[in-house]
Symmetry: C2
């Protein structure tokens, strides 16, 4: 799969953050997936998923569901392959992200604000059209696409000591850890979740995949209420831990990166930056890599979160 993806994705840079290195007293690097196609890492698993479909299925297009970035990623990947995309979104999805998916050519279907209804609509669309279904975070191809983030980090920084990743369903988290396993690399991998949706952290502690209450978080990309089976299995054997970050720390982390690094980051990856500032992973003293998963946010919402105008909870 890696060979099929090469050259079709942006090989995103890994750059030192002078500010975070100073603040944390160790070299801190950012993996800039805000510079990926569609502005988030989700274009990787989306393209991997579209390419993994049987050709006769793919020819009829793809159907998927998403809280946001995977919608644009899937729309872009389908357009790359010249097939139609339909994305089922809940009314609570970020309008900025839905609009972006539409601009990449996706047909948008709005379901009830409920994961079960969302899946029913996907099933119905698949039955109607014969299109291929792709899943935002829990399938072998999504993890293979996500793993390319880990491959690139190790290529650019063979001596990286720790990697910090925002966690929702666990696709990226699991994919990066699978990459480390394939390379036999010993870096510690930490997850970060917001206080308003900590179900992956709680599940790891419980030793089983729990289902949480609906997410109540500013991190609109971290809303999965149950860990995906693939990511969870890898995390159980390989994760160094998951930090849970107060909602009130998200805005200040966004502000820090806007003011000091000139980066617009989404609340979802601000959770990982905030976790680093809280001290997550400080037991490893070598280079720390934080995955900046995306930069898709409405400028007005970005300003509100940076300035602290926003409520602590959405």
């Amino acid at each position: 799969m890696r060979e099929r993806l090469a050259g079709r994705l942006v090989r995103t840079p890994l750059v030192e953050s002078a500010t975070l290195s100073r603040r944390l007293g160790r070299p801190v690097y950012l993996k800039l997936e805000n510079l990926q196609h569609t502005g988030s890492f989700k274009s990787r698993p989306a393209l991997a998923s579209v390419l993994a479909l049987a050709p006769e299925l793919r020819a009829r297009g793809i159907v998927t569901s998403s809280s946001g970035n995977f919608a644009s990623g899937a729309a872009w990947a389908a357009r790359e392959e010249g097939v139609p995309a339909t994305v089922v979104v809940m009314p609570s999805a970020e309008p900025f992200k839905v609009e972006k998916a539409r601009r990449y050519g996706a047909q948008i279907v709005v379901c009830e604000d409920d994961y079960a209804d969302r899946q029913r609509r996907v099933d119905a669309l698949v039955a109607e059209t014969g299109a291929g279904e792709i899943h935002p975070h829990s399938s072998a191809p999504t993890l293979a696409g996500d793993a390319t983030v880990g491959d690139e980090i190790l290529e650019d920084m063979p001596d990286c000591a720790a990697i910090l990743i925002p966690v929702s369903g666990g696709g990226l988290f699991g994919g990066v850890m699978e990459s480390l396993e394939v390379h036999g690399h010993g870096a510690a991998v930490y997850g970060a979740q917001p206080e308003g949706n900590r179900i992956f952290a709680d599940s790891l502690r419980a030793g089983e995949r729990l289902t949480g209450p609906p997410a109540q978080t500013l991190a609109d990309g971290l809303t999965a209420t149950r860990p995906g089976p693939q990511g969870f299995a890898v995390a159980q054997r390989r994760a160094a831990g998951i930090a849970v970050v107060p909602e009130a720390e998200i805005g200040p982390a966004m502000r820090l990166l806007a003011e000091e690094e000139g980066l617009v980051i989404e609340p979802s990856c601000a959770v990982a930056v905030a976790a680093a500032l809280q001290g997550t992973g400080r037991e490893d003293t070598g280079p720390l890599v934080i995955v900046i998963t995306g930069g898709n946010i409405d400028p007005e919402r970005h300003r509100r979160l940076c300035s602290g105008d926003a409520p602590a909870r959405p």
Copy 2:
């Protein structure tokens, strides 16, 4: 000089902008100096200038003047060398940038809103303290520092066809062209100025360095009212041209990069992005590099410019 700078600056990445490549129908790459120390390329000429001072002068600290980014760059470079920095700024300097210089440890002296008074204050401080003066854009060391941007672009992209650079006094513009001359590289180099301060473009057309009226532009980093002699000399023999961009195009270019690439860019480099969108350099069909000179802007001002709330003139 290049050897003395290596390892002390961020080796900033050159990344493709999928959005601009699609819009312009050619590969477009961004040189991300927003990721440089202090958030702008100015840390390069500042460090070069501090290192070029005679040791006994440097030991007494540095004095400089700046409309913004060079102030932080100089403060950072002085702190790197363990010496004090004093920066003379006009009251019209961007408060966000002045505050940043203060955080890097500079003492700030506010002069009259007038270039002549600014230079008088610098001269007086130099006479009082015996510190070394460094100049924001017109000296051999500043051009040598600026030239490292060109060196890195050519290293990363030997087949680059054109480079587009925002122009004020012409330090970066001249430095990059000097780098191309040293490497015997034939890429076309275009400048971009805002409508509200087009004196470098007018000077090139006139064949001599003119002095313009006070700048009336949103691009707070492009306010020099007379080309520097070094940059102007290189531009006369080597520049492919200078585009002049309407003030009203600055905000939309900032918005495009925030929404599509997750980058906070200053109005000054938005001028270069806007020039590319206007078609500057379209006669060369190979890869185009735009230098994203900095990301230092107050989040509230960024939002206003992105949303079109700001007046066309400051």
